[in-house]
């Protein structure tokens, strides 16, 4: 049962609310409904992802998993037809229980839980960012607590925090805890054979060590996602005309005839962790777009964030397992050596092996989850990088994108890596294919009592 006495006035963006609450703290405040509370926390999560230094797609994906799950678990006892993930995920067994005889306000619980888990997972963020998290918590708290008895308020806040605490304790044992301190294992010796990954010369990062080489050993959220079969690579062959050679030749030929539209796609999906909310952030943002475009309840919102978060996290774990298992070269290594010495990719190389594409796998995972919740058809506009300054070097603008289905966006995400010259078609195809499998294992968890999926 949701205790909600808040009227929908409108859905002012958060910054307006903040200004409003500061400027007119004694007068009536603009109010958010429960759904807004969920969405604002997702926005805050994306903000912290973007503005925490040394972030990576891997660490960010994991954070979305725990933050989304915390959102869901901090309210799920209030929704009789939904199941907790307690006992369904890899080793998550000790989530706190509610007192069924007492009343709770689930927006307050969610609010407290999100603030807590964000600050615990992103403990490395700046003091300024911590303040931003606290102000959002305070803002929501001030609005929601009206007309609710003090004990219920305290009980709800305390429950939300205890869920966050329990999930954070569980997160510590997955292999990725404080992973930002170990982005690069400088002692590790990597395979050196024909076709093996070489540190990039046209690089996104100053590191010549590959990112998170042990990430593939991390615990997945869904146990089934540890059992996905390995994909197939094409055997190394430098003979012109061989399937291996053709993979790279295609990248090379595409680069020679890139259209402006393809260049726009290539830079749009870059999602460089140094300047954006990372590729899994792009997926978490799509969850928000989908929820905004639908009449969703609080629990539906939380479920979608939990599913997208955990799905992209599991996608990155599997992807990184294969990246280091196969340890394959990028087009920037093969093409200058065997096709054109002067060639350089349109987009700089990220610091990790090629196969399969992390962009593709996580995009497919998110699209599959979103399709499962909202159906295949959904027309939306992606404004993730709207207003960013033109890339003068590449003579390309950041142009907003429109799609008619989630899958269309996933397909473009994958294609964009091919246009950027940093992935072969095979990297993308395998990424998309495996992404679907991973998402299905998240969808297949018992989210609802009726076992309706």
């Amino acid at each position: 049962m949701i205790i909600s006495k808040i009227n929908i006035i409108n859905r002012l963006p958060l910054f307006l609310l903040l200004i409003f609450s500061i400027a007119c703290s004694t007068t009536e405040q603009a109010k958010m409904d429960d759904k807004d509370v969920a969405l604002e926390w997702a926005n805050m999560t994306l903000y912290i992802t973007r503005y925490t230094p040394s972030n990576s797609p891997t660490f960010a994906s994991r954070a979305f998993g725990y933050i989304g799950l915390t959102m869901y678990e901090s309210i799920v006892p209030g929704f009789i037809e939904y199941n907790s993930m307690n006992g369904q995920l890899n080793g998550l067994e000790l989530l706190p229980k509610i007192d069924p005889t007492k009343e709770y306000n689930w927006a307050l619980s969610l609010n407290a839980g999100q603030s807590e888990i964000l600050k615990k997972i992103y403990v490395q963020t700046s003091g300024e960012n911590i303040q931003k998290i606290d102000s959002l918590e305070q803002l929501v708290f001030n609005q929601v607590q009206h007309d609710i008895d003090n004990e219920t308020v305290l009980r709800s806040v305390s429950y939300g925090k205890s869920v966050a605490h329990a999930i954070f304790e569980w997160s510590k044992t997955d292999g990725g805890h404080r992973g930002y301190l170990h982005n690069f294992d400088k002692t590790m010796v990597h395979p050196d054979r024909p076709g093996s990954w070489k540190p990039p010369l046209f690089a996104q990062s100053f590191s010549h060590h590959p990112l998170h080489p042990h990430w593939g050993e991390n615990r997945t959220f869904a146990a089934m996602n540890e059992t996905i079969s390995d994909p197939q690579i094409i055997p190394y062959d430098t003979t012109p005309g061989s399937p291996y050679y053709q993979q790279f030749e295609n990248v090379y030929l595409k680069d020679l005839e890139l259209t402006q539209l393809e260049k726009e796609a290539a830079i749009w999906w870059g999602d460089d962790p140094d300047v954006s909310f990372t590729p899994p952030g792009h997926s978490y943002y799509f969850a928000t777009l989908a929820l905004e475009g639908h009449d969703s309840t609080l629990i539906e919102c939380a479920q979608v964030y939990a599913q997208v978060g955990m799905a992209v996290a599991d996608a990155f774990i599997n992807c990184w397992k294969w990246k280091y298992q196969f340890f394959t070269e990028r087009p920037n290594t093969f093409i200058p050596k065997y096709i054109d010495e002067e060639w350089e990719s349109f987009w700089p190389d990220p610091p990790f092996p090629s196969f399969p594409s992390g962009h593709a796998i996580q995009a497919a995972t998110a699209a599959t989850v979103l399709e499962h919740n909202f159906g295949k058809k959904f027309t939306f506009t992606d404004r993730a990088h709207e207003g960013r300054e033109r890339d003068e070097l590449k003579e390309t603008d950041f142009v907003i994108r429109s799609f008619d289905s989630f899958w269309e966006a996933a397909q473009e995400t994958a294609d964009s890596r091919f246009y950027g010259g940093i992935h072969t078609k095979l990297d993308n195809e395998v990424g998309l294919e495996k992404g679907i499998e991973i998402a299905k294992n998240i969808n297949a968890l018992e989210w609802k009592k009726t076992n309706e999926k």
Partner: protein, 567 residues
């Protein structure tokens, strides 16, 4: 495109090496590392960064000595014995403090104008392994005149500048005769002690950095005035070089930035002297290069009277040709033949063969721990086009090159070369140790000019020397360091003269505007030019003239008044 393949197999390297040893038909450079007693390899901290050298005459005996950084190993102070050999006098020199630091680059100038050249050494962290975040202060040592040094880092106000510093350079941007410093920083710098280190501090540590512009206050103190001079940028800095790109006789600043396509690009700052301000003219001059700029060679390779810049990079370097006043630079690397695939760091323009134009040496090396051998380049200038002759001239060493310097090791009038090489982290097919190459290719006449500044910087850093021989004008800047990579060439200007036995005139434009001219100078000698206490050029004559007339008028008026009063 006839590019030299740099990614060679071991067999090819061995083949090349043996060719280098057997091809004696032509005069070449000669690797005299062993016989000279130089025994050095730069040892990296984690990877990639480091290895510089400065050329300076530590004891003023007329033979130029060397200070070479060692990274996590000891630095070296090599005294030139004058007979083709060097002696390491590091132990007992007072410089042993550097053992506590991972040293990077080094430059030398007479900071306090006592007649001896002092040392400024950049560092990235300490060697005790205690720093969670690699940062340390840079080190300043005063030369006490007896080949020993005194640490004055703290006394000169440099104690609190904790940085991950790369390339230093001395210059005199305010033309007060005291050498100032520009220091490139790579990762975010900190001021003072770091205290308790939280995760937030660690993750913020790899952000881009502001560099330092350190003004030398009367030889007594350095003061960071980076922002006061409008140098606001943050980036992955590899240092800069003071140079007069617009021929207005003050020192402008060229700044090299790694990851220019992602963080901030290269900068060219125009000195607005006498206004205390640098103007960012990177964009309008086309020098905002979005590359992995590692270093720069400075020289007027086409003898048009304007300084050109060769900027080293990953993969392909840029030959930025100065088009003159108000016009943007143009990259001529491809057109003129200095466009060869490699990862380049140091670079030096010099007239190695004494044919009156500037040739170009480029020091190459993989990023380490990436360890693919790549040979150094030697581009011979022939009527303003370049031909790569590294192998032919036996100077294509396959060590992991970083800083490189030119100097006349044996005082025979031509420019020899020292290249700092890194110890490979991974397996490497050949030894990678610092190399000294004696120049045995020079044939023509030459002239060397050493400056002794009085009001200007003591060794003429920031000044320009021009010669006119047989109607041809050739210009040189005195290197305060930061050209090449983390290093500093000889401060003695060197000119190849071809068949000319006499130089018609030698012109010195001292920083601050004074000009001094010598005529009819014989070739094949080193001349010392001491700054004369003459007034600065024509403009000043005018003011002297004007003030004299004014004084006469005043005197006349006063005289008339007195005469009138008497009446």
């Amino acid at each position: 495109m006839k590019n030299n393949l740099t990614l060679q197999t071991i067999h090819v390297i061995i083949f090349f090496l043996s060719l280098g040893m057997t091809s004696v038909a032509q005069q070449t450079f000669t690797d005299i590392t062993k016989s000279s007693g130089i025994d050095h390899e730069y040892q990296v901290y984690e990877g990639t960064f480091g290895g510089g050298v400065t050329v300076f005459d530590v004891n003023n005996d007329g033979f130029e000595d060397l200070y070479i950084t060692g990274g996590i190993k000891s630095d070296r102070l090599y005294l030139n014995n004058g007979n083709g050999t060097f002696k390491d006098i590091f132990e007992g020199s007072g410089l042993e403090l550097t053992n506590e630091y991972v040293t990077q680059g080094v430059v030398s100038a007479d900071v306090n104008k006592d007649g001896f050249r002092d040392l400024f050494i950049t560092t990235i962290t300490t060697t005790d392994g205690k720093n969670i975040i690699p940062r340390a202060k840079n080190l300043l040592f005063l030369n006490l005149g007896n080949s020993t040094f005194k640490d004055v880092t703290d006394a000169y106000g440099l104690e609190d500048l904790n940085s991950f510093s790369t390339g230093p350079s001395f210059g005199d941007f305010n033309a007060d005769g005291y050498p100032d410093l520009f220091v490139g920083n790579y990762f975010q710098e900190f001021t003072g002690k770091l205290g308790i280190i939280k995760d937030a501090t660690i993750v913020s540590a790899n952000q881009t950095a502001k560099s330092y512009l350190l003004q030398n206050n009367h030889g007594e103190k350095f003061e960071n005035i980076y922002e006061d001079y409008s140098l606001g940028h943050k980036g992955f800095g590899f240092g800069g070089v003071f140079t007069d790109f617009d021929n207005d006789q003050d020192q402008d600043l060229l700044v090299n930035q790694d990851f220019g396509y992602k963080a901030v690009p290269n900068f060219l700052y125009r000195n607005e002297y006498p206004n205390e301000h640098f103007e960012d003219v990177s964009k309008e001059t086309g020098m905002d290069l979005k590359i992995n700029a590692m270093g720069a060679a400075v020289g007027d390779y086409n003898n048009d009277g304007w300084m050109d810049y060769y900027i080293t990079n990953i993969k392909f370097n840029m030959l930025m040709e100065n088009q003159g006043k108000g016009l943007p630079f143009i990259d001529k690397a491809k057109e003129l033949g200095t466009y060869n695939l490699a990862i380049s760091w140091g670079a030096n323009f010099a007239d190695f063969d004494h044919d009156e134009d500037l040739d170009l040496f480029v020091s190459n090396g993989d990023l380490n721990p990436n360890c693919t051998p790549m040979g150094n380049f030697y581009f011979e200038n022939n009527k303003n086009t370049f031909t790569e002759k590294g192998r032919e001239l036996a100077i294509n060493d396959y060590g992991i090159g970083r800083g490189s310097v030119i100097f006349d090791m044996d005082n025979d009038g031509d420019m020899d070369l020292l290249v700092v090489n890194q110890k490979p982290i991974l397996n490497y097919p050949i030894p990678s140790t610092t190399k000294l190459f004696r120049n045995d290719i020079a044939k023509g006449n030459w002239l060397k000019v050493a400056l002794k500044g009085i009001d200007a910087e003591a060794n003429g850093i920031g000044s320009r020397v021009s010669i006119i021989a047989n109607g041809k004008k050739i210009i040189r800047e005195i290197d305060g360091g930061g050209s090449s990579h983390l290093s500093q060439n000889s401060v003695i200007a060197h000119f190849g003269l071809g068949v000319n036995k006499v130089v018609d005139s030698v012109i010195v434009d001292w920083t601050g505007g004074k000009q001094q001219i010598l005529t009819q100078v014989d070739a094949n000698q080193l001349i010392d030019i001491v700054e004369m206490n003459t007034p600065a050029k024509d403009q000043s004559y005018f003011w002297y003239f004007l003030s004299t007339i004014l004084m006469l008028i005043i005197a006349f008026i006063l005289y008339r008044k007195r005469m009138l009063a008497k009446k």
